[in-house]
């Protein structure tokens, strides 16, 4: 068997560093989920899917949330001002769309967000 060379050492370290970077990055930033807050409870939804969620059956709210592979929005709501709909699609870490009268919000949650909090 061949002797272990400097090249081997170099190659292995690059490989391991790359793997480490990939895994760490996957864990930290790709850990993106959609959080639905209804009243005082939070529910985690799969942001990668593509579907319409009618909140009337499971959550008792006359609203529709649309998830479109990586982004989401409040598509319909029976509230008066429709402020929650005006937020449009949200996709970035830390973004939210909030319906205060119906006490419902959707929020993109990541391990590291762009802002620690938002004043509005």
């Amino acid at each position: 068997m061949k002797r272990f060379s400097f090249f081997d050492l170099f190659f292995v370290s690059i490989l391991l560093a790359g793997l480490y970077y990939l895994i760490y990055h996957q864990l930290v930033s790709a850990n993106k989920s959609l959080v639905l807050t209804v009243e005082e409870k939070r529910y985690f939804l799969n942001l990668k899917s593509k579907k319409l969620i009618d909140l009337s059956r499971e959550y008792g709210k006359n609203m529709v949330v649309e998830i479109d592979s990586g982004r989401a929005r409040i598509k319909e709501s029976d509230c008066k001002d429709k402020i929650c709909i005006s937020f449009g699609f949200i996709s970035k870490c830390g973004e939210s769309a909030i319906c205060v009268p119906n006490r419902v919000s959707i929020h993109i949650e990541c391990d590291e967000n762009e802002y620690d909090a938002v004043s509005r």
Binding site: T37, I90, P101, R103
Partner: protein, 323 residues
């Protein structure tokens, strides 16, 4: 593979794992939990451990504070002209704060303006513009002068109704921050619908706070870095209605006796959320030149987002934009 190769790979993995461990120890991970309460969304950001240990306590503390405040406001509002009622010290202090905000704004800010706002349907709607005679009937009741506070009671000198929407929520957040300190929590954020306090720092750096553009919501109009400071924002964009081309906002001038639409939003940095919250409404009622003077006196940086889209930074706001 030789024993030497295996050994070196093993060493590498060990070093990497140790390095990984070091990163985790130096960098505490923070998590946010949220719920709706007091007519707004509340977000609490704490280290994972503190969030597990104290989130439920903080939430129920907030519920108790809110119920207590609403109970006392309702009791004062249901009292008749000439009645005197006993109240706890915290409530007398809160009313006195309203007196302070009224004084510095030359009477434009006034908690008794709710007597008039109620006729428009604020805060929850349905909204409408009241008839002239309805307005005439109540204007005589409006003025902070009609509230007489002594050691433990309030005398109601007119038939006013009060609302603490402008700074009550801020006071509750301040109490929750005190509770966090009691629990021994050193770092975190409590954010009640955009009125927030940053306790301590985050891994040695100030907390990074975005000020949201009320019109294009995915945009921020400023990013600030806070440590043991509060920021609050007031604007015309959440509770309002439009009739005949005029916008009726939920912010009323008690001197003009009408709804005011001076800015897109006003954000204020202060040492307490009550102050930041109250002053954001007080400044909303004032002109730019008046704010320039007052924010110096009150030592509160201000961000003004004018109706034409211009952004003004006053009293050292830009210092908080630097890291």
């Amino acid at each position: 593979m030789s024993i030497l190769q295996k050994g070196i790979i093993f060493c590498f993995i060990t070093i990497l794992l140790l390095g990984c461990d070091k990163v985790d120890k130096g960098h505490e991970r923070y998590k946010t939990n949220s719920y709706f309460m007091l007519g707004t969304i509340v977000e609490i950001t704490l280290s994972e451990k503190d969030l597990n240990d104290y989130f439920d306590n903080l939430k129920s503390e907030m519920k108790n504070l809110g119920e207590r405040m609403v109970g006392d406001i309702n009791r004062l509002n249901s009292m008749k002209k000439g009645d005197r009622g006993k109240f706890d010290k915290y409530f007398l202090d809160l009313i006195s704060s309203g007196g302070y905000f009224s004084k510095i704004s030359g009477g434009r800010f006034d908690i008794t303006i709710y007597t008039l706002m109620k006729l428009y349907g604020f805060p929850e709607g349905p909204y409408r513009v009241p008839e002239n005679n309805e307005v005439k009937n109540v204007v005589g009741e409006i003025s902070f002068e009609n509230i007489e506070i002594d050691n433990d009671s309030i005398l109601k000198k007119s038939d006013f109704k009060i609302d603490m929407g402008a700074y009550g929520k801020g006071w509750i957040v301040d109490q929750m921050v005190n509770k966090m300190k009691e629990y021994g929590i050193k770092k975190g954020i409590i954010n009640a619908g955009g009125d927030l306090f940053c306790l301590g720092d985050k891994n040695g750096k100030s907390w990074r706070i975005g000020i949201q553009d009320p019109i294009e919501k995915s945009r921020t109009i400023s990013v600030i870095h806070l440590k043991n400071k509060a920021v609050a924002t007031s604007g015309d964009y959440e509770r309002f209605f439009d009739v005949g081309g005029k916008r009726y906002t939920h912010i009323f001038d008690a001197k003009k006796l009408e709804s005011i639409d001076n800015y897109r939003s006003v954000s204020v940095i202060a040492d307490s959320v009550e102050k930041a919250d109250g002053l954001s409404t007080v400044y909303y009622l004032m002109l730019v030149d008046e704010i320039k003077d007052m924010c110096n006196r009150e030592n509160t940086p201000v961000l003004l987002y004018l109706l034409d889209g211009t952004i003004l930074k006053l009293c050292g706001w830009e210092n908080f934009e630097k890291v």
